[in-house]
Each structure stands twice: as structure tokens, then as C-alpha cells.
């Protein structure tokens, strides 16, 4: 058991398949097709500023919506009795196990111009509304797909808050509002942070949701990257540069969140899936 060398195969694997590929992204971003060093790719990313802004904006909105909806739910589940809690958790996890392409496809059916929602509204002589291929549809798709990633970490931290702590606050004369602001909220901050990362990162980098629900008018960073690698615009050097910019956005988001409090363990929340 004093053996360190059993990590050796993993070390080699890690260098080849984790470190090297990321270095390659950097290499491609700063070279031309022939391998000559250049800054052109990075400066070209500036042309796509509207797309970058749109991606960040959609992802922020989706994250905020998820947080607002999931926070009370996480609290309610954490205060539930054993069997009820288990059932609710299972109901939250169940959709996560379905492939997200299928979940997104389900919304295509509902949002179409002559889809179910418009037909339903038609009974009341309302609409039809143009819902698919709008920014709202893309954000809805993000909220629907990534909501469980917000609920689970919130639930995980809130279930650790002892009921007696809340009772003590109330016994000492604290109203519900101040119990919330001074006990529940501070204690649940690690879960809020994890949840924000878990929703923001896949939202800002998606290309499927925008493609399926956004039509052609809602191009996001992910679509741009995908187009450079697998689309007609084949240009891996530019694609790598856009990927680097996306990585910077994600790292900025994470370091911004870490300003609001100390380190926390990622392990538990990540393993919940």
C-alpha cells in the first residue's frame, strides 16, 4: 500500500489525453494553417463579439432563472420526510438520465408554430405565437436541460443544515425573513456557487440547444466552434482561438464566483449525477 507507481499509467494517460490536447488547442489558436505563429486567429474572434455577448447573456439569464426556481425547491426537498424526500429527488434526477437531445427534441414538438402549446392557446382564441426559433426558446431549453444541476447541489447543502439550527434562530426571535437571510442563505452559499457553475458552463458552451430551438438566428459560441471544426467553414485554427476565448470566459466566471467566499469541495456535488 506504500505503492505510488500504480498511478504511473494514469500519469502517462493524463499527459497524452488531457494535457497535450489542451496544449494543442493553444498551439492551433496561435498558428496559421502551415504552422507559422500568428495572432490573426485571436484578433478575428473580435468579429464575433455579438455572438459572444449573446452567449454570455443567454447563459446568465438561464442561470438566474434556474437559481430562482430551484432555490425554494431545494429547500423544500431538504425539509421533507425520508421517503418523500427520496421520491422527490428521484423525480428530479430521472429526466437527467434521458439523453438531452431527446429532452430538447420534446420541446421542439411543443413550441412549433402549429405545436401543442399554440393549439392549446388556440382554444382560447389566443395566439398563435412564434415561439420556436426565438431567444426565449433557447433560454427555455437551457433552463429545462440544466435545472437539475442547480437543484441537486442546493439540495445537498441544505440537507446539511440542521433543523435545530433553524429552530434556534426562531426561538431567539428571528423572523422567517431574517432566519433566511442570516442562517439559510449563508449556509447554502457553497451550493449556490456549485449550481451556478454547473448551469452556466454547459449553457454558455452549448451548440445543440441553439441549433434545435433557436433556428438560424441565435448563433452561440458553441455553434461558431462547431462550424470551424465540422461545418463548411472548416478552420481549426480559428476554432481553437474561439475555444480559448470560451475557456477564458468560463475561468472568469469561476474566479468571479470564488470572490464571494472561500474554497469549497466540488467532489460531492459533481458526483451526484
Amino acid at each position: 500500500m506504500k505503492n505510488k507507481s500504480s498511478a504511473f499509467p494514469y500519469g502517462v494517460w493524463m499527459v497524452i489525453f488531457i494535457v497535450l490536447p489542451l496544449l494543442l488547442v493553444g498551439y492551433f489558436a496561435f498558428t496559421t494553417e502551415d504552422g507559422a505563429p500568428t495572432m490573426e486567429n485571436i484578433s478575428k474572434v473580435g468579429e464575433f463579439m455579438p455572438v459572444l455577448m449573446r452567449s454570455v447573456w443567454y447563459a446568465v439569464v438561464a442561470t438566474v432563472v434556474c437559481l430562482v426556481i430551484a432555490y425554494p425547491l431545494g429547500y423544500l426537498i431538504s425539509r421533507g420526510a425520508g421517503s418523500r424526500r427520496r421520491t422527490l429527488l428521484m423525480l428530479v434526477i430521472l429526466p437527467m438520465w434521458m439523453n438531452f437531445l431527446l429532452r430538447t427534441y420534446a420541446w421542439m414538438t411543443l413550441l412549433e408554430n402549429n405545436g401543442l402549446i399554440n393549439r392549446f392557446l388556440g382554444f382560447f382564441n389566443v395566439g398563435p405565437f412564434e415561439m420556436i426559433n426565438t431567444s426565449g426558446a433557447v433560454i427555455l431549453g437551457m433552463v429545462y436541460n440544466y435545472m437539475p444541476f442547480m437543484i441537486l447541489p442546493l439540495y445537498a447543502v441544505m440537507s446539511k443544515i440542521d433543523q435545530t439550527t433553524l429552530e434556534a434562530a426562531q426561538d431567539l426571535g428571528s423572523s422567517f425573513v431574517s432566519t433566511f437571510a442570516r442562517v439559510i442563505l449563508p449556509l447554502s452559499m457553497p451550493g449556490v456557487k456549485t449550481g451556478i457553475i454547473m448551469v452556466f458552463v454547459p449553457s454558455v458552451s452549448t451548440f445543440i440547444i441553439s441549433r434545435m430551438l433557436g433556428g438560424g438566428g441565435n448563433l452561440l459560441i458553441g455553434d461558431l466552434i462547431e462550424l470551424q471544426f465540422l461545418g463548411n467553414a472548416y478552420n481549426p485554427n480559428l476554432g481553437a482561438a474561439i475555444s480559448l476565448v470560451l475557456l477564458v470566459i468560463v475561468l472568469l466566471c469561476m474566479s468571479l464566483l470564488n470572490q464571494f467566499g472561500g474554497e469549497e469541495e466540488m467532489e460531492g456535488a459533481l458526483l451526484d449525477k
Binding site: M1, N3, K4, S5, S6, A7, P9, Y10, G11, W13, I16, F17, I18, V19, L20, L22, L24, V25, I69, L73, L76, R86, L88, M90, L91, L94, W97, M98, N99, F100, L101, L102, R103, Y105, A106, T109, L110, N114, G115, L116, Y144, P202, S205, T206, I208, M212, I225, F229, L230, P236, G239, S243, L246, L247, V250, M266, E267, L270, L271, K273
Partner: protein
């Protein structure tokens, strides 16, 4: 909580669950729809299920998905468990460096992981070609397809194995291992008689997580797949692009039922295990 508050809470939960499940249930309902329309329900049929089971592309991609998932998760479990044991014995500095790199594929946006794999495999191809032409060697070309998919899947599964096994190692009682050595076990015997059973729950959890991640993965696979080897999610994606394909509904219904059964079974085992534990605690407290 007062009754009124409780009612609000229930309504709230109800709304969210409706939001989660109505789209899925609508899809399942339309899987029995006679017409191709996604709006009008014209009559009951099992035709789409029939077509699904006779669709060669879907059957072959399901096979492919399973082969890749087994190959990737078994390899990742072996390498990852060995890695966790090695990391556990490392000094703090090296361990934290390696763990930080281990987190990378989880923290990174999946599209970047996918793109970086694609660049790696493209570069390897260029390298092989270079060697073959300049030295006259005949190294087989690494084609995009099953091989690249398995390599990529192993890589993104590894962190889940390590993160599942590490806590079990930390919880392990080192004294028992040392006692085994004192009682005449050699290191290898003590390892597989004491350590392996102790960390088994972590190994199994790591394997299952890897397996499901591999089955479900679309984004990374999308960048490393080739024309000859499709996984089920990639086939689903190409089906959704044809807009109207009711087979997807049937496929969703089947996947939903399978997932439901798996989760119910796991839940059932959890409850049973809890009951066992409670019983054992009761017995112990009486003794």
C-alpha cells in the same frame, strides 16, 4: 408549517414537476400516434416501435454504444482505481497537481474537451503519416471511429472513477491492512483481501458512473466520431435534424421506461440496504 404554506409548497413542487415531465409524457403519447403529425392525434399504433426495432442504423449504433461503453468504463475503472491508490500514497504536492489535472475534463466545457481530442487525433494522424512516408514504415492509421471514441470515453470517465475511489481509500482503516501483514500476508495478498473489498463500493460506483456517462455522451463523441462508427446519441442527433421522425418518440418512451426501472431498482436496493443496516445496528445494540 401552517396548512396554507404547505399548500403553497405542494403547488410549487407540482408546477416544477409538471414542467419536467409534460414534455416527456407528450413525447411518449405521440409515440403511439398513427400519423406523422406532431400536433394531431389520429389513432393508436405500435408502428413506430416496429420501425425502430427494424431500423438497422439504430440497432447497429446501439451495439456500438454498448461496446464503447463497456470497453471505456472497464479500462477507466482499472486505470482509475490504480491511479487512486497511487495518488493516495503520494506526497501532498504531487497529489494536488495530479488531482487538479484530473478535474480539468469535468470542469472544462464539454465542447472544448471534444475539440481538443479532435485536434489530438488529427495531429496523431499527421504524425503517423509523416513517419510512414519518410521512413517507409507501415504504422496503421488511427481512423476516426470506434478507436478514437473509446480513447476519448476512457479519458472523460477516468475522473469519475478516481473521485469515487479516493474517498473510500481515505475512509479505510489502515490498521487492518497492517494487521494482515503482521499475520503473514504478503503485500499482494493483503491488498486483494483487505484493500480491494474495502474500496469495492467506490470501484463499483465509479464503474457505473463511467458506464452511464459513456452511454449518454453526445458532445465529445460528436467531435471524435467517424463515418463508420455511430453511437446512439449521434444517431438520435441526425434523426432530429430531419425534423419529423416519430421513431424518436418511440425511442424516448423506451429509454424513459428503462431509466425509470433502473432508478426504481436502485432506490429499492437503497431502502433494503438501509433496512439491513438498521437491523444490524439493532442486533449490535442488543448484544
Amino acid at each position: 408549517m401552517t396548512n396554507k404554506l404547505r399548500w403553497y409548497a405542494k403547488t410549487y413542487i407540482g408546477f416544477i414537476l409538471a414542467f419536467f415531465y409534460i414534455p416527456i409524457l407528450v413525447m411518449i403519447a405521440y409515440s403511439f400516434n398513427e400519423s406523422k403529425s406532431r400536433t394531431f392525434f389520429t389513432g393508436f399504433t405500435l408502428d413506430w416501435y416496429n420501425r425502430l426495432f427494424t431500423n438497422d442504423l439504430i440497432i447497429s449504433s446501439l451495439q456500438n454504444t454498448l461496446i464503447i461503453a463497456f470497453a471505456a468504463s472497464i479500462t477507466a475503472t482499472v486505470i482509475g482505481t490504480a491511479a487512486a491508490i497511487g495518488l493516495y500514497n503520494m506526497n501532498k504536492w504531487l497529489k494536488s497537481v495530479m488531482l487538479n489535472f484530473t478535474y480539468l475534463p469535468i470542469v472544462n466545457p464539454e465542447i472544448i474537451t471534444g475539440v481538443s481530442f479532435m485536434l489530438l487525433f488529427v495531429s496523431i494522424q499527421a504524425l503517423i503519416e509523416g513517419i510512414n512516408t519518410s521512413f517507409g514504415a507501415a504504422i496503421p492509421m488511427l481512423e476516426f471511429g470506434r478507436a478514437t471514441l473509446i480513447l476519448a470515453h476512457i479519458t472523460f470517465c477516468l475522473p469519475y472513477v478516481i473521485l469515487n475511489v479516493m474517498p473510500k481509500l481515505r475512509q479505510m482503516d489502515k490498521n487492518i491492512y497492517e494487521a494482515a501483514l503482521d499475520l503473514g500476508c504478503n503485500e499482494w495478498q493483503a491488498f486483494y483481501k483487505i484493500v480491494v473489498p474495502d474500496i469495492m463500493p467506490g470501484i463499483i460506483a465509479g464503474f457505473l458512473t463511467s458506464f452511464t456517462m459513456s452511454l449518454d455522451d453526445f458532445i465529445i463523441s460528436y467531435f471524435v466520431t467517424g463515418p463508420t462508427s455511430q453511437t446512439l446519441p449521434i444517431t438520435i442527433f441526425s434523426m432530429t435534424r430531419r425534423r419529423v421522425s416519430p421513431e424518436i418518440n418511440a425511442l424516448s418512451a423506451i429509454i424513459f421506461v428503462v431509466v425509470l426501472l433502473v432508478l426504481l431498482t436502485l432506490n429499492f436496493y437503497d431502502i433494503r440496504r438501509e433496512k439491513h443496516m438498521l437491523k444490524r445496528m439493532e442486533v449490535r445494540s442488543r448484544a
